[in-house]
Symmetry: C2
Subunit: 441 residues, 2 copies
């Protein structure tokens, strides 16, 4: 199978994740894109540093120029951080005709215009899914999935640190300093959290989203940015009493004039600030370090995309999806024309074997001992009971309702147990049997 | 600009939407894909039927074979409904080398294996974003954005009619028959709602998602399907008391053995049934006709995608995104290497002009007349008050808190009003001024 050579600039958290998952999911990726992705070289600051996994010592270099000079490298992945060096690397890579994948939001927010002008001139693609909202494929979604749409507005919870702090201020009634300290202890905030809490991390991502949606580069001096650092627990509590949650939102809107949502003035607005949003809105239920981006299009209406906005694995997932696009632009192919067979799975498990938790409601005679009978049948079939409720209400026939929450059991076990239960004279059919899902996977 | 010819099979709700939006967003689409999409011919049952907008009478035909025979048609869009005719059309189109776009979930669930085998043999792409979850780009997301992942599980609310009925049974305590009647009156359920309420509409979509995620075609006889038609208001109420919402979920899971989520047995499970889910989970907040699909990947972790699952415009958005992919497969190009400039927008509005609703909290002396002073200043600056709360609590300095929810005003207005308010001797700085967003766009 044809190999595509990758040069990794940066082996920090995300770079190491990319290396690991390209190796681990190698077979799957080959089936899905028809070429093999091979990391040929990585640039690091200190090659002697011990690493859990990664390229061999011979593949490490301290000079990014080595990635440009190596003819076996087709794709340069920039995950260095900072501005000047990554900018020099990307300029050199594009000029040398090497496809670029970057996750550097600050760089794009400040130099995106120059980078994409050069990319267009040299006809070399630059991919940047990992720059915004981590594992949420918001760049691909706006560029490709919503291609039929004028974007009416974008509302994003795109800083996980701020969202964690606000969630804890709301749920545990902590004040800002307490919540920040907790976020740092949990590893959700850096030792220097400045860019997260002053809103500028979110602002960089907002500039990228706005530029992508509206087709011109928005200057960082043209937007309004306010962080969560001056927010008080008092206002979060009052907002709660008024029916609102406080979220750090990036808000991007076209100055809509027409009924189709297109701009009258050609103007857009871009801002990042703590915002009260109605509790019942789905964005209000985005908690902890999760991110979410709501996009309104003139054709599709309201959409929302949710996931982890940072961290090694989610960000690596985004980088690798860009690597797949890059490989396809270099001659790979998305397998089999709309549907990719692969070798890992091949059968459906029979219903009888499928395990689930259950909610079971029975109409029973209102007399002692019925629960004991039901419980002993369940026990005999090895079905655990996690809780029992006997509501006060009776049905029209005067029967009591017995509601049981049951532990995980197979369909087979549950059906056998239920058959036996329905043989009890104190139990009247039909029972209500519903499955319960708690999203552990 | 090069033209790509489209043949539309079906001009029902979705077909008419595709025609309308391809025409309305023509300029934008040309900028974004570098070719012009032109509907050359449409197949309808009755060409004499009056239509609000659509192709001219000469472009209408009653025979789908005319789409195959027309050499100016590059892409066939199948939106006819049914099974036999669409299958014959797609077979003929692929055989003739015409790219296919279809939104026919029942057809793919039953004949997907054959269709994609033919597509692979003839090397002709078949796109099907509109087949599942309407405006939510779940097919593209699983195929492309999550390409680095083994899919651990998929949980979908993918039948809007059922979700509307369940939402009304929960929020308004209606019983099933009442909620169904309301859904029909609102146009959210068809006169014959069988496939929606017995779970099979969702099941067809689940088969497509499972097949896409796991690389083999799942038979409709291999899955467990139970609809919402036997669900009682009683169980919804008890579930609520226990902390759960009831949703019709499609659940697809690999039989995970390894810590990386890959299947031990190579087996998967596919089922559709009413399911209790914890109230605090973001899926529980998906209300009314909205759809949502949660996807867990071994690399990306938990993600969720939300939007309208049906209707003319959202589904047209999905069809047109496939048309763009199809056009690109025929030689179009996604503009400008990662970033698409276009002509509609070009400036950021100054902050001073940006309008928003506000939450304003002031620490004030606890004496009569202060609210009147504040209100008259706001009135002078033309800032409306939508509500006022004076909480019982006082701050450490013994001052009362005055909380006002304000109507939409520009930043300029608000700043001037605030300056004047802070000149009042009864008001102590700092004020807390937060913006309020209610997602009307």
């Amino acid at each position: 199978m044809r190999q595509i050579g990758i040069g990794l600039a940066g082996l920090g958290t995300v770079g190491a994740g990319v290396y690991k998952h390209v190796a681990q999911n190698r077979a799957l990726l080959m089936e899905r894109i028809g070429v093999e992705l091979v990391v040929r070289r990585a640039v690091v600051r200190d090659p002697s540093k011990a690493r859990v996994a990664g390229p061999s010592r011979e593949q490490l270099s301290t000079r990014w120029q080595d990635l440009i000079d190596d003819p076996a490298i087709d794709i340069v992945v920039e995950l260095m951080g900072g501005i000047d060096e990554p900018l020099a690397l990307i300029r050199a890579a594009v000029t040398a005709g090497k496809v670029v994948v970057t996750g550097n939001k600050a760089l794009l927010a400040e130099h995106g215009q120059e980078i994409f002008a050069l990319a267009a001139e040299k006809r070399v693609p630059v991919f940047f899914e990992a720059s915004t909202a981590g594992g949420i494929p918001i760049i691909k979604t706006i560029r490709e999935a919503l291609i039929a749409n004028h974007i009416v507005s974008i509302h994003g919870i795109i800083n996980g640190t701020s969202n964690y702090i606000l969630t804890r201020m709301t749920d545990a009634r902590l004040d800002f300093a307490e919540a920040l300290a907790e976020a740092q202890a949990q590893g959700y905030a850096e030792a220097d959290p400045t860019l997260d809490i002053n809103g500028w991390d979110a602002a960089h991502k907002a500039v990228i989203l706005a530029s992508l949606a509206y087709g011109f580069w928005v200057g960082t001096d043209q937007i309004f940015v306010e962080g969560i650092d001056r927010l008080t627990a008092t206002d979060i509590r009052f907002a709660d009493e008024l029916g609102y949650r406080v979220k750090l939102l990036a808000i991007i809107k076209a100055d809509a004039a027409g009924p189709d949502g297109t701009a009258g003035s050609g103007g857009i607005e871009v801002r990042v600030h703590p915002t009260l949003i109605p509790k019942h809105h789905v964005l209000a239920s985005v908690s902890g370090v999760f991110n979410a981006v709501r996009v309104c299009g003139d054709v599709v209406g309201e959409t929302l995309f949710y996931g982890r906005g940072a961290g090694q694995d989610p960000t690596a997932s985004a980088v690798i999806s860009d690597l797949a696009e890059a490989a396809i632009s270099l001659g790979g192919a998305r397998g089999s024309y709309g549907f990719t067979p692969h070798g890992l799975y091949g059968n459906c498990r029979p219903l009888e074997d499928i395990r689930s938790r259950y909610y079971l409601r029975l109409a029973v005679d209102d007399k002692p001992g019925v629960l004991g009978q039901v419980a002993s049948i369940l026990g005999r079939h090895d079905v655990g009971i996690s809780s029992v409720v006997q509501p006060e209400t009776h049905d029209e026939a005067g029967r009591a309702q017995l509601v049981l929450m049951l532990d995980r059991a197979s369909h087979r076990q549950m059906q056998s147990a239920l058959e036996d239960i329905l043989r009890l004279s104190a139990v009247m059919p039909p029972p209500a049997l519903l499955r319960v899902e708690s999203f552990t996977t």
